[in-house]
Amino acid sequence: MNTAERISNAELEIMKLLWRENRPMSFTEIRVAFQQTSRWDKSTIVTLIRRLADKGVLTAEKRGVLYYTPNISEAEYVRAAEQQMLDKLYGGSAKRFVTALVTGGKLSEADIDELKAYFKMEGGNDA
């Protein structure tokens, strides 16, 4: 899941609010909440919410007006972020210091199939 890398800092603030409140919130509620703490104007908040919804991180539910719920829990997000950071670190410098069974990579399904087809021992059977 790539959501972690696709949530910007600003968007994260919205998510944090939703996680904190732990209930579906409407646009107005969200806007009011941010009025105190930030200088974002209406259009900014609209954009952020819309982006999050497009990414599939927020689900919009119509109950008169649209109410938004996060699709990903905070724990999941944190973990994804960690994973992503770890991948970066591993992909960067750490891989030089560890021995990995396989160098994980950007192999597609097709690649995997190709390899499977390729690797056939004589006298062996597919396990």
Binding site: Y90, F97, L101, K106, L107
Partner: protein, 950 residues
């Protein structure tokens, strides 16, 4: 760079080269051995390359003979030597130089030039280790962050899994096992507390076993340690792209070798399972996956390679094992050999010596570039002194010529000069004790400063014209710089040709101590003495075009003449050659120095006019160094008058710095220079006085002034303690003055001096600082200025006969040697051992030649002041009349007066007698007499006689 760094840098470069060489070999044989040798062997072969990059073989291994691969050492030496001294070349763009003709020659602006320097690599190289450490720290930082992040999420492995692990390790040391949802692939991590980390997934037993076997193999082989080592080495060889390739190759080879070990005892089924495990692990990795790509990326290729080699794996025969061993040994040997050949060329020879028995230590042939053999007594187990004999056989001959035969103590060294190309033999005998000793015998390139310079020139493919060690550098070099002095500093002057021209250089050399080689610490081109980074003067100046006042160009100029209108300068700028078409006698070439403000014109000086020339082809070479040895800025202009009287001009600004020491061989392209320019002679003269070199001194003066007897002043020495020449140059004004003075004079007529001869006189001004030993000579030292007058036996200025000094005059008109006669008489007086002190000095000026009076009196006055004598200018009668004689005779026991007079003045052979007598003696008695031969203002004492002679 400091010496230790230089050595370390050298070692690094050697290792990098060695490693690269081994890597090249391995890459070359890779296709051959890929499927024939065990992967493990191939892995360790790459480790040899790593070893070559990290182990300085040259420090441990000494090759007894020059190897087939001497090039590493030379490559390294070459680069280390020049790594710190990369020459900055300047690109020059000459702009805006116009040579136009105006009737009244106007100020010509100097060339404007644009300089740029090549990047200074020295700075970069000095900080290379810092980059490595920074890079390493950066990598380690990433690693530890990774470790830290990972650790937070680790969970213990399942019991069943731990059981499998325990079974596989069978009681031996085992790494820990963890699961971790953040891990992308199973891995072995950690240097000191290694752990196997599994992604938090389900694994079948078969899969688990394969994974664990794989990681355990890495663990047992300490592959983690080797990986860390590879990273460390790679970080220090960051500049070498081969190091990157090696690291990547080692990673690959490591995995292949590990796979090989895991599947070694598996059947086909087992191997299939293993490969499947690999694929399934990849499939399950959490790395972001491109959904549709079919690209052959690195990971896929690597995995395919591994799968391929699993499929191809087979048992290895004894043959392959043997072959592997041989190959490993061979490659290791190659690595050591290549690495060791990077060692600097020190040759140590250990030999057991018996007292009294001469033993040959070694022999060899001197290289072309070397001319000295250094023998150093390095180590001993017995004798503390040995007797060294070095002989050589000249090319092709059998007879031995002894170069050196002397005792050598421990830790000392000696140098023998051996002709290049000859065979030398070093023999030693123990003196004192019998035992082993070790000698280091090196062909030293830089045993002398000249050798070091010679090597530098030859290395750059220059052809040497002249090399000479000199005492001081030209003033322009010294200005503003602190120059090294002492016996470990030297200056060398060299003239040589390179493809781009003919250059004169001044070198500054230093050595650590008297046993070390000379190193060039600075070098200056003669025409860029002010700024070593300045650009050179152009080698060939442009052609002048003659224009008349109305702008018309001189018509009908033949190509030859046009070509000749070129102010030609050799790079050491001593020659100017101008060819002008033959015109009327108003055709001429003028030179004018720039004025004090750098512009305008000082008095123009006619270099030559065509009336002096007899033929139609007029080509004139004016050696400007004769007149401006230190260089000058000025303008040359050519004036051509055609038969109708129309005048054409062309002007060129010229600026050149000159040398003090011209070439001895004189092989200049456009005629020769000899070692006889006036300035040079004056310098030699002064230095001869400093060094009491009478033969040299005599060679600098006209025969009339030569000293027959070195003990001319009774002390056998010029009495110079120290002498430094501040500046010496041809004085145009003084030259003009004496030429004017002599031209048409009686003296000239009497001596038969033609006008041409007089035109060949020159006055050289010298400013120097001298300290005399006044117990030997009376001369006053200090900062002095003098004119030296030289002439040469020539009918025209294109002569090559030597300049000789015919007269010397200080600007104050004082002539030491006129005083000399006087001084000798006083010395006589003092010698006769009277107790009386001199109270009066009287000079009867009756017969004194006018010029003598002018010089002598001030000198005597000065002496009188110093000695508290009273100087009287009077005849005997006059003195008597004034009562001075009676004053003395009355006071007989205490004081004395001495009267001098001159007689037998012979104008024919220029001699006269200086006589003296004491006041207390009767009139006309001669107490002492000095015969002098006068040559202008130089008096040469040829005889001393008289009653006072003791």
């Amino acid at each position: 760079m400091p010496n230790e760094w230089s050595n370390a840098f050298r070692a690094l470069i050697t290792m990098s080269l060695t490693g690269s060489a081994i890597a090249a070999i391995l890459f070359a044989i890779k296709p051959l051995v890929k499927n024939r040798l065990p992967k493990t062997v191939q892995y360790y072969m790459w480790l040899i390359a790593l070893a070559a990059l990290v182990i300085p073989f040259s420090e441990f291994v000494v090759l007894p003979v020059k190897t087939v691969v001497p090039t590493v050492s030379e490559i390294v030496s070459e680069n280390v030597r020049s790594g710190g001294e990369i020459m900055n070349r300047a690109a020059v763009e000459i702009t805006g130089q116009r040579y136009s003709a105006l009737p009244a020659p106007e100020k010509v602006n100097a060339e404007s030039q644009v300089y740029w320097k090549r990047f200074n690599w020295n700075f970069l190289i000095s900080y290379a280790p810092a980059y490595s450490i920074l890079a390493l720290l950066f990598l380690l930082l990433g690693y530890f962050r990774f470790l830290f992040k990972l650790r937070r999420r680790r969970i213990p492995a399942e019991t069943a899994e731990l059981a499998v692990l325990a079974e596989l390790t069978a009681g031996r040391k085992s790494p820990k096992l963890y699961r971790n949802e953040l891990a992308a692939t199973p891995m072995l991590i950690g240097l000191f507390r290694p752990a196997i980390v599994l992604p938090d997934k389900e694994y079948s037993e078969v899969q688990l076993e394969n994974i664990l076997r794989h990681e355990l193999t890495h663990y047992r082989r300490r592959d983690i340690w080797l990986k860390w080592l590879a990273v460390l080495v790679w970080s220090f060889h960051w500049f070498n792209p081969v190091a990157w390739l090696v690291r990547r190759e080692i990673d690959r080879a490591c995995e292949l070798a590990c796979d090989e070990a895991v599947i070694a005892n598996l059947d086909a089924n087992g191997k299939q399972n293993y490969g499947n495990t690999l694929i399934s692990v990849v499939a399950a990795t959490k790395m972001p996956r491109a959904v549709f790509s079919m690209t052959m990326c690195e990971e896929k290729r690597a995995l395919k390679e591994r799968l391929g080699s699993i499929m191809k794996s087979k048992k290895h025969t004894k043959l392959t094992i043997t072959l592997s061993a041989v190959l490993l040994v061979a490659i290791t040997g190659a690595a050591v050999l290549i690495g060791a050949s990077g060692a600097e060329n020190t040759n140590e020879y250990t030999q057991f010596l018996t007292v009294g028995e001469k033993t040959e230590i070694t022999r060899g042939v001197m290289d072309d570039l070397n001319s000295a053999l250094n023998v150093r007594f390095f180590e001993t187990s017995g004798p503390l002194v040995c007797d060294i004999e070095i002989v050589y056989l000249a090319d092709g001959e059998d007879t031995e010529v002894t170069a050196v035969s002397e005792l050598l103590e421990l830790s000392k060294s000696l140098t023998a000069r051996i002709p290049s190309g000859s065979t030398y033999i070093v023999r030693a005998t123990a003196a004192g004790n019998t035992g082993n000793l070790t000698l280091s015998i090196v062909q030293a390139i830089s045993a002398t400063p000249e050798d070091a310079v010679k090597y530098d020139i030859l290395k750059n493919n220059g052809e040497i014209s002249t090399i000479m060690q000199i005492d001081t550098l030209p003033g322009a070099v010294e200005a503003g710089k602190v120059l090294p002095t002492g016996e470990n500093a030297a200056y060398v002057y060299a003239v040589y040709t390179l493809p781009d021209g003919y250059w004169t250089y001044f070198y500054i050399l230093e050595r650590g101590d008297s046993q070390s080689a000379w190193e060039i610490t600075a070098k200056y081109r003669s025409d860029t003495l002010q700024d070593p980074n300045a650009s050179p003067a152009p080698l060939s100046a442009p052609i002048l075009t003659l224009y008349a006042e109305d702008g018309a160009e001189l018509p009908n100029l033949s190509d030859y003449a046009k070509e000749g209108l070129r102010l030609f300068e050799v790079s050491d700028t001593v020659l100017i050659s101008v060819t002008v078409p033959y015109g009327t006698k108003e055709t001429g070439v003028y030179w004018s120095e720039n004025g004090a403000d750098g512009g305008g014109r000082a008095d123009p000086y006619l270099v030559f006019s065509s009336s002096e020339l007899e033929t139609m082809t007029v080509s004139y070479t004016w050696k400007i160094s004769d007149y401006y040895p230190d260089g000058i800025n000025g303008s040359m202009w050519v004036v051509y008058t055609d038969t109708n009287g129309k005048i054409y001009n062309a002007t060129a600004g010229m600026s050149f710095l000159n040398i003090l020491y011209p070439s001895e061989s004189g092989d200049y392209p456009n005629g020769g220079l000899t070692d006889t320019t006036a300035v040079y002679i004056v310098r030699k003269h002064l230095l001869a006085e400093r060094d009491d070199d009478f033969e040299l001194w005599n060679s600098t003066v006209v025969p009339e002034l030569r000293l027959d007897d070195p003990t001319f002043n009774r002390n056998g020495t010029f009495g110079v303690n120290s002498l430094t020449i501040d500046s010496v140059y041809v004085s145009a004004e003084e030259t003009a003055r004496i030429q004017a003075m002599y031209r048409g004079s009686d003296l000239a007529r009497k001596r038969g001096w033609s006008d041409a001869y007089i035109s060949n006189m020159v006055a050289v001004a010298v400013n120097y600082t001298v300290d005399y030993d006044n117990s030997k000579v009376p001369n006053t030292g200090g900062q002095l200025s003098q004119y030296f007058y030289l002439s040469r036996d020539a009918e025209n200025s294109q002569s090559n006969t030597p300049w000789l000094i015919f007269d010397i005059m200080s600007p104050g008109g004082q002539s030491d040697t006129a005083y000399e006669a006087f001084r000798q008489i006083i010395a006589h007086y003092n010698k006769i051992g009277t107790d009386k002190t001199i109270k009066y000095i009287a000079i009867d000026t009756a017969n004194i030649p006018a010029q003598v009076e002018a010089q002598l009196i001030p000198a005597v006055q000065k002496a009188s002041d110093e000695n508290v004598w009273e100087l009287l200018l009077d005849t005997y009668d006059g003195l008597a009349e004034k009562g001075y004689i009676s004053d003395i005779t009355a006071d007989d026991s205490i004081s004395e007066g001495i009267l001098f007079w001159f007689s037998e003045v012979n104008a024919e052979d220029n001699t006269m007698k200086v006589r003296a007598s004491r006041f207390s003696s009767p009139k006309d008695s001669v107490g002492a007499e000095v015969t002098v031969s006068i040559y202008f203002t130089k008096w040469k004492v040829t005889d001393v006689s008289g009653l006072w002679k003791s």
